[in-house]
């Protein structure tokens, strides 16, 4: 399991949060999605065998939120 951390443009409505949360949780290989509303960050654990961090950023991007930066943390 790797962890993708995305920094988004400011989120302003709580429903944006639900949208991102819902959309990412539906992706295969993704577990434990956390959207930090105030920090405008998304953290998601994903299985590298199934999907990639770039694919997840693409999903968020398609919802209409630009991903400013994307970091991947490998498990230690």
């Amino acid at each position: 399991m790797a962890k993708a951390i995305m920094q988004l443009d400011g989120l302003s409505c709580p429903s944006c949060m639900q949208k991102i949360q819902g959309a990412l949780a539906q992706q295969k290989g993704v577990s434990d999605v956390k959207v930090l509303f105030n920090a405008s960050k998304v953290k998601a654990n994903f299985d590298e065998q199934v999907t990639t961090a770039d694919a997840l950023a693409e999903v968020v991007d398609r919802l209409g939120y630009s991903v400013l930066s994307l970091k991947v943390k490998q498990p230690q």
Partner: protein
């Protein structure tokens, strides 16, 4: 299609502006009697403003979320269909403009965190084998790499100084604004600024593992850790929005009044209620972060506001944690000379009492280095007998004096007893068989504590407790000086936990304040664990609240802030519910229609945000 959506999302603000202008044009045409221009203006405005709202509603629906946008979309389309173009234009415009203002004002409440993250270093100058440096992203620096930091630059990693020295501004990590001088082998932290000097640092922690990165992560997570009240509102909102849809449908079916049904949709938007509670917490926690108080989430704010009992660890929390001379009983004709003799004798010793004495004499600016010691004999468990400048000097306890046939008179004995009663260790000094000084040495109470405890009581704390591993005599003395009601001494860390549990069993809400390392079990057991001693990992991780500067001013601020934030949150919930009630009454009596309903709705959202913004400037008096 995708591109179109993106374009609309990115140009929502321009759309809002265009809609606003068209609405103004519409009203002008209305008053000048050009009916057709008015209708066209409102139709175009409705279409423009509705587009981004409908897109958002659709996107949410795709992930099975019934959003506020959906309610507004249905209402607006409904109004459009029955030809109420002015209503649909104004409602959509107000909705977009409201969102725009919310975004701007929310950014203000989040500013403290943003400022913190922007302080994080981004690149490091990593030294290569050939002596050159390469600018590297902080995430790509490896542990063990050497990085070069020059005057004015930020330390990019946690590490130890390999070579060089300089003055560092560590306020981003410790909250302390004073410059500190650090040289080889000293620890330095990422995010601190080298004010002067050049350092070569060996990285021990990099990227997200640095103390600074952890502080940022903590605050970020804290702002989104919801309190029970918030979670309830969230759950409520999830069902509330679909419920409004159903209610509108029922109202429409029963009354056969289409306009009434779509009005219900607009009025039912759960705006202020959803935003009211989180915005208070965000502003409150942000204020804390700015003032050296890290509060881990809304739940902590909520619980801390209810705390009525403060339990303190003594050493290092109420006291400085280092011994110092606190009392000097002088019988010497020339005390300066005697102090110089004592300091000379003690300066050769590593004993904590000896060090306290030397520090005291240093503080008095008495020179003693020029004296010569011709003989010095340390007697274990007694003290030192020495010959300094041809004078016989005894520094130690009663046993040492007895062994050298020096006796104390009754007054001296009384003084000794009194100092021991006060919990001090005592050092007696005799020169040429005459008792000259009796010094009391104790752990010093931090000067600001007494006033701060009294102030905390005024703020609403009912009971103060001190737990310590120290002896009962010392403990009682410190407690008496500070006005602490309950004292338990001679405790092991696990016995402190028992005491905390006992207080909780009495029905008290307990906050434990300790230095974060040996007190970790108590910090975890108490309702609220507060760590003094910023910058250490253990403190940051085990506690609910971290006081970065370890000061009692911060403790008072934290408590005041928690109470204020909870009060603010309540005000916001009352405002939000009040608005809904007001709108419903207005609707029943026919004063409120779609556009005015949307106006009140958006206004209430701004009111709760502005109310929360008052917290940003909160100060503890």
């Amino acid at each position: 299609m995708m591109k179109f959506e993106r374009y609309i999302q990115q140009h929502t603000n321009q759309l809002t502006l265009a809609t606003g202008l068209l609405i103004i044009l519409g009203f002008i045409s209305q008053f000048s009697g050009i009916g057709i221009l008015k209708t066209i203006s409102f139709i175009v405005a409705s279409l423009l403003a509705a587009t981004p709202i409908v897109i958002r509603a659709y996107e949410a629906l795709r992930v099975k979320v019934i959003s506020i946008e959906l309610l507004v979309s249905i209402a607006v389309i409904g109004a459009f269909v029955i030809g109420e173009f002015d209503e649909s234009a104004i409602v959509t415009f107000l909705f977009l403009f409201g969102s725009f203002l919310e975004e701007k004002t929310l950014a203000k409440t989040r500013h403290s965190i943003k400022a913190l993250t922007e302080m994080a270093p981004t690149t490091a100058a990593v030294l290569q084998a050939d002596g050159t440096t390469v600018e590297t992203d902080v995430d790509d620096v490896e542990v063990g790499d050497h990085v070069l930091v020059k005057t004015g630059a930020q330390v990019p990693v946690d590490g130890v100084i390999a070579s060089g020295d300089g003055y560092l501004n560590e306020s981003s990590v410790t909250g302390e604004a004073k410059l500190v001088h650090k040289g080889a082998a000293a620890e330095v932290f990422s995010g601190t600024i080298l004010d002067n000097g050049t350092l070569q640092i060996e990285a021990t922690k990099v990227g997200d593992d640095t103390t600074f990165a952890k502080i940022i992560e903590l605050v970020e997570e804290a702002q989104d850790t919801k309190s029970t009240a918030e979670k309830f509102i969230d759950r409520f909102a999830t069902y509330y929005t679909p419920a409004v849809l159903v209610i509108a449908l029922i109202v429409g079916l029963i009354s056969r009044d289409f306009k009434l049904a779509i009005t219900v949709l607009v009025l039912g938007c759960p705006g202020a209620l959803v935003i009211g509670a989180p915005v208070s917490n965000v502003a409150g926690i942000g204020n804390g972060a700015k003032n050296g108080v890290l509060i881990k989430g809304g739940e902590v704010v909520d619980t801390f506001a209810k705390v009525d009992t403060l339990v303190f660890d003594k050493t290092g929390t109420l006291t400085e944690g280092k011994t110092a001379v606190t009392a000097v009983e002088n019988e010497a004709a020339d005390p300066q000379r005697v102090l110089a003799l004592v300091a000379k004798v003690e300066s050769a010793s590593d004993h904590p009492l000896a060090r306290a004495v030397v520090a005291y004499v240093d503080q008095q600016q008495i020179a003693f280095q020029q004296l010569t010691v011709t003989a010095s004999n340390t007697i274990k468990g007694q003290g030192i007998a020495a010959i300094v400048d041809q004078q016989h000097v005894l520094v130690g306890n009663e046993k040492l004096l007895a062994a050298h046939h020096v006796t104390l008179n009754d007054t001296q004995k009384a003084t000794l007893h009194q100092q021991q009663q006060a919990g001090s260790s005592t050092v007696i000094v005799a020169v040429e068989q005459q008792v000259q000084l009796i010094m009391g040495i104790a752990d010093v109470i931090r000067p600001e504590v007494k006033g701060a405890l009294a102030a905390l009581k005024r703020q609403g704390i009912q009971h103060l407790v001190m737990l310590t591993g120290d002896n009962a005599l010392t403990a009682q003395d410190v407690a008496d000086q500070l006005g602490i009601e309950e004292v338990h001494a001679n405790l092991l860390p696990e016995e402190k936990v028992e005491q905390v549990k006992a207080l909780q069993a009495q029905g008290r809400k307990v906050a434990f304040i300790g230095d974060g390392i040996n007190d970790s079990p108590s910090i975890a057991t108490a309702d609220i664990g507060i760590a003094m001693g910023g910058g250490t990992d253990v403190a940051v991780e085990t506690s609910d609240i971290v006081l970065m500067r370890s000061s009692f001013g911060e403790l008072r601020h934290a408590y005041g802030l928690a109470k204020k934030t909870v009060a603010n949150l309540r005000e916001n919930i009352i405002l939000a519910i009040g608005t809904v009630v007001f709108l419903l009454i207005g609707l029943v009596f026919g004063y409120i229609y779609m556009a005015s309903g949307m106006f009140v709705h958006e206004a209430s959202i701004l009111v709760v945000i502005f109310n929360a913004m008052r917290l940003i400037r909160f100060h503890t008096k």
